[in-house]
Structures are given as C-alpha cells and as structure tokens.
Symmetry: C2
Subunit: 399 residues, 2 copies
Amino acid sequence: MSDEFISENIKAALKNDPPGEWMTELPGECIRLSSGYPTPALVPAMQLKEAVIGLLEEEQDLPLHYLGSPRALKLKEQIQKRLGERGIRVLEEELLVTSGACQAIDLIARILIDEETVVAIETPTYMEALEIFQNYTERFISIPIDEHGLQTNLFEEVLAERKRKGLAIPRFLYTIPTFQNPTGTTMTEERRQHVVELATKYNFLIVEDDAYGELSFNKRPIPLKAMDKEGRVLHVGSLSKVVAPGLRIGWVTGATEFIHALDWFKKDLGHPFAEATMASFLEYTDFEKRLKILQDTYQGKCSVLLSALEQYLPESVSWYVPEGGYFVWVRIKGVDTSQLLTQALSEGVSYVPGKYFFLDQKEGTEFLRLSFSYADEKEIVEGIQKLGKVVTKWMELRP
Amino acid sequence: MSDEFISENIKAALKNDPPGEWMTELPGECIRLSSGYPTPALVPAMQLKEAVIGLLEEEQDLPLHYLGSPRALKLKEQIQKRLGERGIRVLEEELLVTSGACQAIDLIARILIDEETVVAIETPTYMEALEIFQNYTERFISIPIDEHGLQTNLFEEVLAERKRKGLAIPRFLYTIPTFQNPTGTTMTEERRQHVVELATKYNFLIVEDDAYGELSFNKRPIPLKAMDKEGRVLHVGSLSKVVAPGLRIGWVTGATEFIHALDWFKKDLGHPFAEATMASFLEYTDFEKRLKILQDTYQGKCSVLLSALEQYLPESVSWYVPEGGYFVWVRIKGVDTSQLLTQALSEGVSYVPGKYFFLDQKEGTEFLRLSFSYADEKEIVEGIQKLGKVVTKWMELRP
C-alpha cells in the first residue's frame, strides 16, 4: 500500500543503512563504549526534580500550556549568557530554542537545502546530521579531517577547482570544529580563521555544530561564530551534553532572516514544559562550577581510556588524543570494525563502527568510535581490556 | 544575505500571512476566547509534579538520557489502551509517539507530499495543518463543511469530475471528523462510512486528526480509523487537550510501512523526559474518571457560551452547536471579523478571525472562532457581552 503513496525522494532516503537496533538494545551487563550519553552520576536528576517542584508550585498550569510560562521565556536569556561566555553575542531575535541540536540541524536542512543544493561536510562526521542532510540532497562535498580537524587547505583546493570548472559551490559547510563527533579532534585557530575567510571568498554559509564546545579539558576554543563578521555562521548548540539529553534543549543562532525562516518551519514544536524546567534548573545552578566538575570528570575518564588503549591494544592500533568532548577515534588497520562488533558485543563491550560516520561507508571500515562519557572508570578499563582481547584474537586468526 | 541561500520553495512559504503576534501577546486582563488551551483548573499541574517526583526518585537519570527509561517505554501501551477505548486496535509497530499532533502532521506531510501532490482538505480547517501542508505543496482540493462536517457528497462529485477529466486524485484527505477545529462540527456516521468508501473507490489515504475526539458531551463518535479495513487511515491523536499541551505528547497510528517512514524522519526528536512524565502520570490516573470531569466541565462552559451568544449577539449572527471539543464557529454576516478584532481587543475580548482557517482567506471574512475551553464561565459571559457590544456598535455604524 505504502509504495504508491510515499514520495519518491523519501523512498530513496529509506534505503539508507542505519546502525540498526543493536545500539538501543544492548544487554544491561554490556559495557557501553558506544553511548554518547553523559555520565549518569552527573545527570542532575535530583536538581531537576527540585526544579520541577519549584516551577509547578510557582507557575501552576502555566508551563503546561503552549505558551505563557514566565520561566520558559527566561531560557533564551540564559542561553544568551552561555553564548556570551564563548564570545558570541546575539540578540533575542537571532536565537531560536530547538528540541536539541538535532531539530536545529533538521530545520537548517529544511530552509537551506533543495534537491540541487551542494553541502560540504567533514569526513567522518556526526551520523545523525549526515542522515538528515541525505534526506534532502544527494550532492555532497566530503573533506577529510586530520588530528587538527577539518583540512581547510584541501577544502580550499576543492573550492578553487569547482570555481574554475564552473561547478556549484556548496551552500553551506557543516562542521563540528570543537571536540568533533566522532573523531574528538579540534580545529586549530589558524584553520578556524581560514575556513571563515573561505566562506567569504567563495560565498557560502557555515553551520557550526558546537554541542561539545563547553566540555574542554583545558582552554575552550573560540567558536567560528565568534569570528563571524558577516552573519555567515549558523551556530548550533545544546544542553544535552552538559545537563541532560532527555530534556531536548538545543538552539541555533544566526542572522535574523534565517532565524525567522527556521521558526516558521518549527511551527508548534516548542517544548514549554521542558524549556521551563531547564530554565528553572539553570536559575539555581552555578553553571561554571558545574562545567568545571564535568570537565574534570571527563578529562579523568578520557585519560583512563587512553592509558587502557596503550596497555591493552596491539601496537598497530592508533587514535587521536582529544582535548575535550566525549569521544576517542580509533583506527585498527586491516580490521573491519563492523564484523569485529559481533565479537565485541559477545565479549560484553560496545562501540560504534566507524562506517556510520562516512558518506561512503567503505572509507570507514577500519575505524571505530569509543565514548568515555557514559561508562565509569572501572568499566572503561574493563571494556578496553575486552576490546583488546577481541582485537588481538581477530588479528591472530586473520593475520 | 539570506535571499541567495534560502531555498526557493521556502521563500514562497514565508510569504504566508499568519495570525501574527497579537495572539501570543494578549494583555492579562483580556478575556481569551481565542485560546484553544485547556481550562487551567483541569491542567493537572500538581499530579504531574507528583509524577515527576515519583519518576525521578525511581528511575534517577534514566528518563534524562536519549533512551532507557522503562516508564517512557510504557507510554505506547497506555496510548494503545486509549485507542482501544475508541475501537482502534493497533500493534506497537503501527504506533509512533510524536511531539504533539503537530509533529505527526508535519512528518506525514514530509513522507506523503512532494511538489506535485494534491491534498484534499476540509474548509475551513485547522490553520497550523494548513500552514504545514502549504510548506510542501500548493495543490489543494478544498471541500466545504456544514453542520454535519465534511460534505462527502460534494467531495465525491469533485473526485468523479477529476477522474473523468484525468486530473490527479488527492494523495490524502486531511480531516478532523470529530469536534472539528475550527467549526466544532462532527461528521455523521453516514458521512464517515461514505468517506472511507470514497478512499477505497478513488484510491487515496485519509489523515484523521482526532485531537478532540475524547471530549464528547454525549457519545464518543466512532473514529474513521476504527472503520478502516485497508490501512488507508493515518490516525493522529494527542494528549494536549485532555492532559496538558505543554508536555507535547501526540501520536500517529497507521500501517507499519508508513510508521517506519515517519520514524525515519522523526530522527532524534523524541522527548524521553516528557514521555516518561506522561507515562508516569497516566499510570496513576483514572483516565475515564478524568475524562468525565473534563467532558462535564466543557459541556457546562459550552452551554454558558451558547446562552450568552443567544442573549448578547444580534439576531443575524449564527453559529453551529458543537457536541464536544473546544470551539464554537460563528458567522456575522456582512462584518469583516479581522477588522472587528481591533475593537474587540480594545474592549477586552479576543477571538480568532475566521480567515486564518481558509486556504483562500477571503472566504473566511465573516466568520470567527470562539473557544470555551480556557476562560471560566463568568469570563465567558463577560467576553460574549463585550463581543455583543462591539458587534452591535459595528452594525449600527455600518448598516
């Protein structure tokens, strides 16, 4: 029945090969190095409970309607304040609260992409963003990442060549310059300057996904948006990684006309109760203090993971050392990490095979993403031990 | 800057003329007969507070992640149970939880509409749905409503003529058969049978928006979905009108292939915390008892509004008498209700001008939508008095 009704372009999108159900149905005893979830002990469940109690006692039914909660209205100010700490100053009308970074990306895709649109992406990149963009276009320019993030020189070469040949310039570049998902890498300041200059020179927009930007082990890098003098950067952020993903609070900032268009397509998809709850939580939270604890915790867990990798993985295995965020990107030469996963899961450890982060999945077969955010330090060591065992065994069997 | 980047079809959509800011920025003293909000006294703020306390004490961080709350998983069962009460039996894989009915409609538009798609709508109809569909297509067939809902005979004539002429048959009909927004009308059982037969005969789908279906003053009408033997009906529902809109819990049920496609486009836009909170609330609520209270309250408020209309409006003013829901649809012959609104607002009462519910806004100038859901009985009487005064004065000045 569906075949004659579902639109053609949609049917194409449905042919994609997503990671499938295994990620959401891991047995309880499996050590989850796949989950990009915040560390459970630092999800402020009890403070959020207090925030809800305070909110509903004070505002009664107001946060439970479509509109009308004074607290929900304050969320924008609080986000503006957070952005200010990152050197990004935006007016209220330059900011749209969204249902996590994901809705922001989806709305951006909606207003900027039509079938002819070329989109530039980093390779590898956040799989959900990739899936979203693929729902709207098939035309991508894929620029590889190294340990210092997007290789802007390569990007410039591609742009120059396309210009010379009269080919379409991308409408926008989607980038996660800080503690990238999945590689954990961070763009150097020189490359940041370079990419902003390229946007001007070749006339494209930049969609900067900054979901991990506040989770720095050292200095917080300057966001591209803070360097943006021409309104070319749409900056996407989220409280999922620093408060709790389940509340689904994200945002996008950019030039007013873009925000207006995004808002039109967002329709009635605001979340008054979640927004008011978050605003109420932020009101009573020393956020810088909270960030410090998060940063220290994740730095500790990351360093435990890196040591364990040194100790338990064969020498041929390599990885990037992150300066923040949630992830370590690992390369196991000659091993298909999708095939290895079955073994890893039966040993009791999970990861995300690298291929899901690539437009051309074949490029990603030797990689895998480890997350140090969710598991605790003891589990991380055990998990890497298990992974080491599985990898070693695999290499012995297929040298 | 935006002009060269925003897609062409999006720019067209942005030219629509939405109701604007006045609806969201009414002064506190204004009597809101415009707001389709539930009655504040029956928004279960304190019970929801208890639900959150119970939930977070029991599940801790689980409902605050992307996935993993046992309670959130139960929401589907609870919705299945509610649907069962309406004669709709669906499997888990035939049900998708959405962020209110609005996300369901948006996702449906996304998978079913491309630029060539013809969509059949009732006239007038829910303005947000109309706006959503207009974001995807410009091709509509508009079928007028009378006091018994969609005029299915007229619809059949249109379909027969299009078939004869070789014109495209609509891919789907969007209808609110029960306590329609904005007219408050309900399709008779004969018309329901008829429209389901038409769907088979002319091979189209039906999107049934049932957001008000449980708010009946008497017997609850049978949903189209309960008559659907061929999987042609996508049934959209919501807990916004019977619990609280601010939690944004809605759903869509339909054939598995449709649900699969809708889910793909929904991506990471679930709301675990809101879903778990709702599930927790439902677990401890006698829902039928709650519905009885809601039905009695709204029936009382509706009858107060109807009496006040009889008493305070000139004789030439007419309206449909609803059997449930939130709305009364009023016609004031010869009066442009958009122009009248300025006067009404300065007198201290609001309504929604009819034109926003029409594809061709000129057809709606004499109509307005009154809501009896939000204001209390005393305010309703005062509001209608004010409206009567404004209408009478207008008629005296421009006879």
